[in-house]
């Protein structure tokens, strides 16, 4: 198998250039799918037969929850790649994911809590799904804290990558918690292709918003990663060429 593309993508100038071209595409597609999903979710979708209009929190809660775990998976994968192949760009991507992932985990917890109050009668329960999501928020904060505590970037990369990889164990726990334990949280709704739990009028806006959040994440991670690459490569010749100064 030809791995040239992989190593080429790990080259900082190549990554910087490609990321710069991809960002506007991701951003505009995120805006379009997000607006379409919002119109569908807030105006066109019918009320739920049990939860009435209150279920519409789903259109921000589920995309935030999906993004919180996806950002962790991307962060851990990038950290692992950085650790194994000593790829600086991968560490830059991992470092860029953490704050975004943490903010969406916080959002998933708060919106879930606001949904829980009218539906369950409480803002919080030490339920397996809620608790494992809270653990993920602490993992993100721990990752950022560890990075911030170590001055040497290479050492911070290695130590935080190990923490990110250890935390991967929490991802299947979050996903399967509703199957493994008696949970107040509802079971899987989307990953039931044999028998969908939602009619298309409710499902399509949700899928659009999930896609919009994922595209938004891609755009934001790339913006932050470009900045991180610039900081790490500050003495490289390509930076001088890029910024138009004689090298």
């Amino acid at each position: 198998m030809d791995w040239t593309w992989f190593h080429r993508f790990g080259s900082p100038p190549h990554f910087y250039r490609i990321a710069g071209k991809l960002i506007p595409w991701f951003a505009w597609l995120a805006a379009l799918t997000g607006v379409a999903g919002l119109i569908g979710g807030l105006i066109l979708a019918p009320p739920d037969y049990q939860q009435g209009e209150g279920y519409r929190i789903i259109y921000v809660h589920v995309p935030a929850a999906v993004l919180s775990t996806m950002a962790y998976a991307v962060m851990a994968t990038a950290a692992g790649v950085g650790l194994i192949w000593r790829m600086n760009v991968a560490h830059a991507v991992a470092a860029s994911c953490a704050a975004i992932g943490a903010s969406f985990t916080f959002l998933a917890l708060v919106t879930g809590s606001l949904w829980g109050r009218p539906m369950w009668g409480t803002y919080w329960q030490w339920d397996p799904r809620l608790t494992s999501e809270l653990v993920m928020l602490f993992l993100y904060l721990g990752y950022m804290g560890l990075r911030g505590a170590i001055d040497d970037t290479a050492r911070a990369d290695r130590a935080s990558a190990v923490l990110a990889l250890v935390g991967v164990i929490n991802l299947p726990i979050i996903h399967y918690s509703v199957d493994w334990w008696n949970s107040l949280h509802q079971g899987h709704t989307l990953l039931k292709f044999s028998k969908p739990s939602m009619p298309p009028s409710m499902l399509v806006p949700l899928l659009l918003l999930m896609l919009g959040f994922v595209l938004y994440f891609a755009a934001i991670v790339l913006v932050r990663s470009r900045g991180e690459v610039l900081r790490r490569e500050r003495n490289a010749r390509w930076i001088a060429e890029l910024l138009g100064a004689p090298s």
Partner: protein, 57 residues
């Protein structure tokens, strides 16, 4: 319109959720852009400093 805004009586749970989501989205964009702009400025300053030093020597 008021009927739609009241969301069947769930407005006090629903709209804060959407407002917070909007804030998280906007703050992430702002922070990412600011961070990238600062990194670029820092790199530019460094490159210009190195060029000025090269010119003097």
């Amino acid at each position: 319109m008021m009927q739609w805004l009241s969301m069947g009586g769930y407005w006090m749970y629903l709209w804060p959720s959407y407002l917070l989501t909007f804030l998280v989205l906007v703050l992430n964009v702002g922070y990412a852009r600011r961070s990238a702009r600062l990194a670029r400025l820092e790199a530019l300053r460094r490159v210009q400093g190195a060029a000025a030093q090269q010119g003097r020597s």
